[in-house]
């Protein structure tokens, strides 16, 4: 009997050790298994092209997580160009790119010998398939013999990561610009945000709107009244038109800047009446921005109206 119990004890201990060792080895191997991540590359090539020749002046390769944004700057005495590219994955084979092109060209001198500049700002929303590229012509698509071209070629690649460590964003300068006239920068910031807007009457929440908004893209949201709200207020639903214009990393929380217009929707006339135009706000993520609308929303109602806006980074960012 005693011998049997000893065998049982030994068997139990052995099994326990075996299971634990298996668990350990399994988890260990799982942690060390390389997993693959999809990343995006942008090959930015600056080319001088003539009718007979094609001369590569500078080349950089940007590689980062999907949603990496980048800038290309051309700087010289008489011409500056800042091209911002906000990129996002549309589908497995397609990218969306918001391109913002700011140019400043020296035009000459005024009668008072002050410099005159020609400035231009363009915004383009582009959809780029994998077999396509972006061609940026800083001086236009003229028929000059000598043209300056910037070719941006996107491609997806997969990389192995070990221990779940995120791969850093890199810029590989394949051929440096010899005179610092061309600069390339890249960064990864969140593009999607969750916005919550609340309307309060005498401190009580009477309407709410929730939406997801994309960085630097205007979004309109109408606040829905709760069923308990009086007839007077519900005639005038509040409408916000806003865009997240800036994201900044800071401590302890990141911050944002917001531009907005606030309207009240007159349902009897079916028209939007502006309350605040070209408003702006700045704050930290997760904190509320407060705006007093007492004298603006329904001035005759003798109630105190407040608008509270809060922004958070979307989960998938």
């Amino acid at each position: 009997m005693r011998l049997k119990s000893k065998y049982k004890l030994f068997l139990c201990t052995f099994l326990f050790l075996l299971i634990n060792s298996n668990k350990h080895s399994f988890s260990f191997s799982q942690n060390n298994l390389p997993t693959t991540v999809k990343r995006i590359q942008f090959k930015v090539s600056t080319i001088e092209e003539t009718s007979q020749n094609r001369h590569l002046l500078a080349e950089s390769i940007i590689e980062g997580p999907v949603g990496t944004d980048f800038e290309i700057n051309l700087k010289d005495k008489k011409f500056n160009m800042d091209a911002y590219f906000l990129t996002d994955l549309e589908s497995d084979e397609q990218l969306t790119m918001q391109a913002k092109l700011n140019t400043k060209r020296y035009y000459g001198q005024s009668e008072k010998n002050l410099p005159l500049y020609e400035q231009d700002e363009q915004k383009h929303n582009l959809t780029v398939n994998l077999d396509e590229a972006i061609l940026l012509l800083p001086f236009g698509n003229s028929t000059n013999d000598e043209k300056l071209k910037i070719e941006i070629i996107p491609s997806f690649i997969t990389r192995n990561i070990v221990d779940g460590k995120e791969l850093p964003l890199t810029i590989d300068i394949v051929k440096p610009d010899l005179n610092g006239k061309i600069n390339v920068r890249a960064y990864k910031i969140p593009h999607r945000f969750n916005l919550v807007a609340k309307l309060l009457a005498d401190g009580k929440e009477i309407a709410k709107g929730v939406t997801e908004c994309f960085f630097k893209q205007p979004k309109e949201i109408q606040l829905d009244f709760y069923s308990t709200v009086s007839q007077e207020s519900s005639i005038y639903p509040l409408v916000l038109s806003l865009d997240v214009s800036k994201f900044e990393r800071s401590c302890p929380t990141n911050s944002f800047e917001l531009g907005f217009d606030i309207f009240r929707l007159n349902q009897t006339k079916n028209q939007k009446e502006p309350i605040i135009e070209n408003g702006a706000g700045a704050g930290n993520f997760g904190e509320e921005l407060n705006y007093d609308l007492t004298n603006l929303y329904l001035p005759t109602s003798n109630k105190k109206y407040e608008l509270k806006i809060s922004l958070t980074v979307a989960n998938n960012e």
Partner: protein, 156 residues
């Protein structure tokens, strides 16, 4: 001390007197010590001149003559007189020196210099202002097929 006959003695040595005059001069020579000494001096001088003439280098003679004739000649008007073999040697040395220098610049040139020459092909963009490409056109952005770019074909 002088004698009137001394000139006659010089003329006699030069063969300018008639034979009658020579007889008279010789008779005088026998009795005049001054003319005797002068006669001896003339003869010695003549001998010396003969030996000097043999030693004169024709080149030096020509140089001296040139010097006398071209007293007011400028530098670029002066002639340089060189013996033909010397001139030939100088020309050969100059020619060989030229060949040597051209060889140094050609086949023995520093390879890094050649690379520099290649990299200087980049110079157009370094030296150009961006406004070189500017004809006033507006910045354009296009989506194109990758195949239409042909990147790398000529870019190398």
């Amino acid at each position: 001390m002088q004698c009137q006959w001394t000139i006659k003695i010089s003329q006699m040595i030069d063969g300018e007197l008639s034979p009658e005059e020579v007889i008279k001069v010789r008779a005088h020579l026998a009795s005049c010590i001054i003319c005797h000494i002068a006669h001896k001096d003339f003869l010695d001088l003549g001998e010396n001149l003969k030996t000097y003439q043999q030693d004169i280098n024709p080149v030096l003679q020509q140089q001296a003559l040139n010097k006398i004739l071209a007293t007011h000649a400028y530098l670029w008007q002066k002639n340089i007189l060189l013996p033909a073999p010397t001139l030939a040697v100088i020309l050969c040395v100059v020619f060989l020196l030229g060949v040597f220098i051209s060889m140094l610049n050609g086949s023995f040139a520093d390879p890094t210099k050649q690379n520099n020459q290649v990299s200087n092909n980049n110079k157009p963009f370094i030296e150009k202002d961006l406004s070189f490409y500017d004809r006033g056109g507006r910045t354009t952005i296009l989506v194109v097929k990758k195949s239409s770019l042909k990147l790398g074909e000529k870019a190398k």
